[in-house]
């Protein structure tokens, strides 16, 4: 049984700030275990997104992708995502918007509210450590995510209680 909330961090942990997505997901996983929220929040990571990840989105109430971004001024940004046709000239990798499109079009499943937590990075070479900018983005991004998680979990709990009454 899938949890209603999915956090999906992606990137290559060996490529400097590309690790921001997986590292934040790791941090979120620890929080989920410490807080005993396993039935409410699933956490996944991968190098990159592929079409079959659409299955992971189906049936969720809220999905948060976490990824590193070049050229972003703010340490983190929230971006709402909607289904978009896969890019005509894509590589092996898919975008989160394309996954929503696969979910809706190929799996014929309703698309959950989905957002991207975009973390500012600047160094992406193999073996590179997290940059100072990436380290800041990781810390502030986690605080922002945790705050939203509390809020969403409270909403879900209130909705469930209202349904039971």
């Amino acid at each position: 049984m899938s949890a209603p909330i999915l956090i999906f961090g992606y990137g290559n942990p060996a490529r400097g700030d590309d690790a921001l997505g997986p590292l934040l997901a790791e941090r979120a996983q620890r929080w989920v275990e410490e807080q005993g929220r396993e039935t409410q929040v699933d956490v996944l990571t991968d190098f990159q997104l592929s079409p079959e990840h659409a299955y992971d989105l189906a049936g969720r109430q809220w999905v948060i992708f976490v990824d590193a971004a070049r050229g972003q001024d703010a340490p983190y940004r929230w971006i709402n995502l909607r289904p978009e046709e896969p890019c005509a000239w894509t590589t092996h990798a898919s975008s989160p918007e394309a996954l929503l499109w696969y979910c809706q079009t190929v799996l014929t499943q309703p698309v959950p509210p989905t957002c991207m937590l975009s973390l500012a990075g600047e160094a992406f070479e193999l073996s590179a450590p997290l940059s100072p900018r990436g380290t800041t983005a990781l810390a502030t991004g986690w605080m922002a995510l945790r705050s939203r998680l509390y809020s969403h979990i409270n909403n879900i709990t209130q909705e469930t209680e209202a349904t039971l009454q």
Binding site: N12, A14, R15, S50, W89, H92, S127
Partner: protein, 498 residues
């Protein structure tokens, strides 16, 4: 066949066309064409910006970390690197001893699951738009969206095959990525009977889909003859692993090379002695090396790897449906290896069918749920691991220092083996389609179709992927841009002067 187009004379008199990057290809690829005053192609080259930092990434690390670490080299087929490194590092734990039967079968299951899902992604999402709709179809329709809109069942089949292969990886390694199932000396965790039943539940359907997909790939290839045979034509030998009986084996065995005339050039070659077989040539215009069979020289020693090599090289497939498909394929070659660049898609689906059938056999084997997963032996200080990755033969070679850290590392990836083949195919297409014509999207796409047939992967899971536009410039001998064609990341085309 088109070697004369590798290096032109008097290049200062030629116009230049640059295709950069090559779309739906992992990593950074660039094609340059030099045209003379009559717009005839005089030189064609595929430049692949290969990152040669792998060895430095590995050197100095404890060998027990290596199988997990090398998965980070590639976001496309991390399991291939995991298993090639595990095989190489087995020598540091058990020397020449064999890992236990259960451990080997679990590694095989993991490997065939990975090849199945990788091949499915390539065929359904990258190659099928060109194959189903033709190279001249509207670019706005000739993509995966077009496939899913026109053939929804095909799109769903591709995703489900991917999902199944990923499920094998998740179950056996504990994670979808960076799992630790395979370790030096054996395998970490047994397969539970519950998980075996879970995987068995869907495998018959997967086999049916693979068989149908093989027939589809065959029918598409045969539907437009001789054009599909002549497209991107090159003639090479083929190298792959085979078992002791000459049957295809993706996990282990000996190296075989079959010549273009169908005769076996090399057989029973121990993978650990790969350096006696292969030499890597450096060319000043390319970062990526050009391997060849050293004892046959650069020309006669030209070979390719991958699904086409695996099907051409095998005297049989070890499973019935794949063997039936191989016979049909071999019949098309009329006693010689099939050379057609586009036949790689047909071969890739035979390869996929083989994977699905082997997965079923492995799941039904009692050893697959065995718990004797580690063995011991007399450790060595040097190890070579060779495996047939989705795109072809993958070689990992390591030596240890006195502290059991990696002192020397050498990796030869499938895309490097196929560097010459891809260049030859690009030259053939350039000579056939570009000579004297205006540059159009359809012509550019033909170049890309030839490269995509090899499914090259440059292990770059970086954010640069897919974000750069494709730019083609025709530059006069004086260095002036005569015309420019840009395909933006969203697929929109822009020509200047308009």
């Amino acid at each position: 066949m088109y070697e004369h187009l590798e290096t032109a004379e008097k290049t200062q008199d030629l116009s230049r066309v640059v295709i950069e990057p090559v779309s739906r290809v992992e990593g950074h690829g660039k094609v340059t064409l030099l045209l003379d005053a009559d717009r005839r192609v005089r030189q064609a080259r595929l430049h692949i910006v290969e990152f040669r930092g792998f060895e430095r990434f590995i050197q100095g690390r404890p060998f027990r970390e290596i199988p997990t670490l090398v998965q980070r080299l590639c976001g496309i087929c991390p399991v291939s690197h995991l298993l090639a490194a595990s095989k190489a590092c087995d020598h540091f734990v058990i020397g020449k001893a064999k890992i236990t039967p259960s451990a080997e079968k679990l590694r095989r299951l993991l490997h065939y699951g990975q090849v199945l899902q990788s091949n499915a992604l390539h065929f359904f999402h990258l190659a099928s738009p060109d194959l189903l709709f033709g190279f001249d179809d509207d670019a706005a329709h000739r993509n995966v969206v077009g496939v899913i809109n026109d053939h929804p069942e095909l799109g769903l089949r591709g995703i489900r095959m991917r999902k199944y292969g990923q499920e094998i990886i998740r179950i056996l390694t504990g994670k979808r990525v960076h799992g630790t199932g395979s370790i030096p000396g054996g395998f970490l965790t047994p397969l539970s009977t519950g998980n075996r039943e879970l995987l068995l539940r869907d495998i018959d359907g997967i086999i049916e889909w693979c068989q149908a997909s093989t027939a589809l790939a065959r029918d598409i290839f045969l539907s437009n003859q001789p054009a599909h045979t002549l497209f991107g034509q090159t003639e090479s030998a083929f190298m792959s692993l085979v078992d002791a009986n000459g049957a295809a084996d993706l996990y282990d065995g000996v190296l075989r090379v079959t010549g273009a005339d169908g005769r076996i050039m090399v057989d029973g070659h121990q993978p650990s002695h790969y350096h006696d077989l292969i030499r890597e040539e450096v060319k000043p215009w390319s970062y990526m090396k050009f391997p060849y069979l050293s004892s046959f020289g650069r020309q006669a020693g030209y070979y390719r790897v991958g699904p086409l090599a695996r099907v051409n090289n095998s005297v049989c497939m070890p499973t019935p449906r794949a063997e039936e498909a191989r016979r049909e394929f071999a019949a098309f070659g009329e006693g010689k290896p099939v050379q057609a660049t586009l036949a790689q898609h047909w071969a890739r689906m035979i390869d996929t069918l083989l994977c699905a059938e082997v997965i079923r056999e492995l799941l039904l084997d009692p050893d697959i749920v065995g718990t004797d997963l580690m063995t011991s032996g007399d450790p060595l200080r040097e190890g070579v691991g060779v495996i047939e990755a989705p795109r072809g033969t993958l070689i990992h070679h390591y030596r240890l220092d006195d502290d059991d850290n990696i002192q020397f590392a050498n990796l030869i990836v499938s895309t490097t083996h196929n560097n010459r083949g891809m260049n030859d195919s690009v030259r053939a297409v350039a000579a056939e389609y570009f000579d004297g014509r205006e540059i159009t999207e359809g012509l550019l796409n033909r170049i890309e179709v030839a490269i995509r047939a090899y499914d090259p992967c440059l292990s770059c899971a970086t954010h640069a992927l897919g974000q750069m536009p494709l730019v083609i410039e025709a530059i006069s001998p004086e260095g002036q841009i005569q015309s420019q064609l840009i395909r933006h990341a969203d697929g929109l085309m822009e020509r200047s002067p308009a």
